[in-house]
Amino acid sequence: MAMIHRSLLAWFLVLVFLIFVGLRIDGRTHWNFFLVFVPMWLYDLFLVAFIVLKSIGDCRYADLGSYSIKRIVSMIIFRLYLLTMTLLKTAFCVMLCVNLNSPASPPISWYGVFTPLIILLVALSFNVIHELVNFSFGLNSD
């Protein structure tokens, strides 16, 4: 999938999500928050589909003997890392919806809700640090 398609898809889903959130918080609709978060569920679905399709593509090339064992292992670890990040984001959104649906007495502790988000942000920060180090020292980030 080309960069322009992915970016426009993400842009559209974020735009619709923000419109839904604005309408819900201003009280113009009384939708369940799980419905308000539909663009986010779609985004997660695309993420998982994207990761699975990329993994299938990698397996095909690995089967042809194009990749070394070291590269295959690093690819598997990278895909698992991406999948974990997606699951953390989904877990945060689900728990947030549960708590927002009953604001008077949130059923889940806020510590529990924010833990996946904080883990996700820390992991993304380490990813960017890794990219920054590779860029600074001219290393290949493969």
């Binding site: 080309a2 960069m3 970016s7 426009l8 923000l18 924010f114 988000l117 960017v128 990219e131």
Partner: protein, 140 residues
């Protein structure tokens, strides 16, 4: 995720360092908001979102440094264009955060649609930027 770090830097027109600053400050803000929601902190929302304002300030400082460096390397035109884009993004995100603080401290004051207005403008700018990518380009 759906984009690699290099693709994000290309789309948002920021460097990896600016992305790192934003992520670090975002983590600090998430921790503070979590503490506020659990009742461990009772500070105003302006204090709780302070890391994000710090991130804006650091990114603005970084932009000025980049502009000066590009001017010294005789790349004034791309330097000015980059600074204009970054200034617009930082200004819009600052206005959004300020309005969000006002709204959270006084829930009856502003409509949330008005709070989101700078983000909608920012999204239009990002859409125009995304349309400049070539159809066949795939950096992943």
């Amino acid at each position: 995720m759906l984009f690699s770090a290099s693709e994000l830097t290309l789309w948002f027109g920021v460097s990896l360092l600016e992305l790192l600053i934003f992520l670090t400050c975002g983590t600090a803000t998430a921790v503070l908001v979590m503490l506020r929601l659990t009742g461990a902190l009772t500070s105003s929302w302006l204090v709780l979102l302070a890391p994000l304002f710090v991130s804006d300030a650091l990114n603005a400082y970084f932009c000025v440094i980049v502009l000066i460096r590009m001017y010294l390397y005789s790349m004034l035109r791309p330097g000015v264009l980059r600074t204009m884009w970054s200034t617009g993004v930082i200004a819009l995100s600052f206005v959004f955060k300020f309005l969000l603080c006002r709204r959270l401290d006084d829930p009856g004051g502003l409509e949330f649609s008005a709070v989101l207005a700078p983000i909608f403008i920012l999204l239009q700018m990002l859409m125009i930027r995304a349309c400049h990518f070539k159809t066949g380009a795939d950096l992943a």
